[in-house]
């Protein structure tokens, strides 16, 4: 019987309880943070946080579902996210973070330079974050292709 033919392992009641507790705590923290930011934060930061939290939670849920239901079709990141990664998955993550770390300093320097030349701080920080996410995604893709 191949791995893909296997039925997913049935989680124990203890693990289900722990997973439920973690989800409840994370959801409560996100909701309370969004409410607090909406009430006391500057501008529409609360709404932005809420949208980001919903999108992030949906992506995390999708990754968990994929890694648990079809581990052979999941990515290294999916498997590592649910604690089912093997040594190659960890090697892919190590290469990804190594490349991201190497790019972090020049990207941060570019953002500081932009701000020194008069670029708005919030836009510069936003671009820095987007650039780092993009570098991380490309680095993960390259590492997965090469390993």
């Amino acid at each position: 019987m191949s791995t893909t033919d296997q039925a997913p392992a049935r989680p124990t009641p203890g693990r289900l309880l722990l997973a439920g507790a973690v989800v409840a705590v994370v959801a409560a923290t996100l909701v309370l943070t969004a409410i607090a930011l909406d009430r006391w934060g500057p501008g529409n930061i609360g709404r932005g946080f809420a949208v980001g939290a919903v999108v992030g939670s949906a992506l995390a849920g999708f990754a968990i579902w994929r890694a648990l239901r079809r581990p052979d079709r999941a990515t290294s990141g999916d498997r590592l996210f649910v604690g089912r990664g093997d040594e190659r998955d960890r090697a892919v993550a190590a290469r990804t973070f190594a490349l991201l770390g190497a790019w972090a300093l020049p990207l941060t320097m570019a953002a500081f330079l932009a701000m020194a030349l008069g670029a708005p701080a919030d836009a510069s920080m936003g671009m820095l974050f987007i650039a780092q996410v993009a570098v991380g995604l490309v680095a993960a893709w390259r590492a997965a292709q090469r390993l």
Binding site: M1, S2, T3, T4, D5, Q6, P71, D72, S76, R79, D86, E87, R88, D89, A91, R146, L147
Partner: protein
């Protein structure tokens, strides 16, 4: 590093998924090892060799 994993796996009548299951790694890891893209750790190399009843030197070969 070259290796004889594809030949040994075929001789044992195992699919990549079955080998992955026995080694407790993902199928992608088996594919990467067979293609020579990923060199397994020493513990995994030992598990692979033992699974086929060979020594590590009989399974993995250094590129010369």
């Amino acid at each position: 590093m070259r290796n004889s994993v594809p030949e040994l796996r075929a001789a044992a009548g195992l699919t990549q998924s079955e080998l992955a299951q026995r080694l407790e790694v993902s199928r992608q890891t088996v594919i990467s090892i067979e293609r020579g893209r990923y060199d397994p750790s020493l513990p995994l190399a030992f598990r692979i060799a033992r699974l086929f009843g060979r020594t590590i030197e009989e399974v993995f070969h250094v590129d010369d």
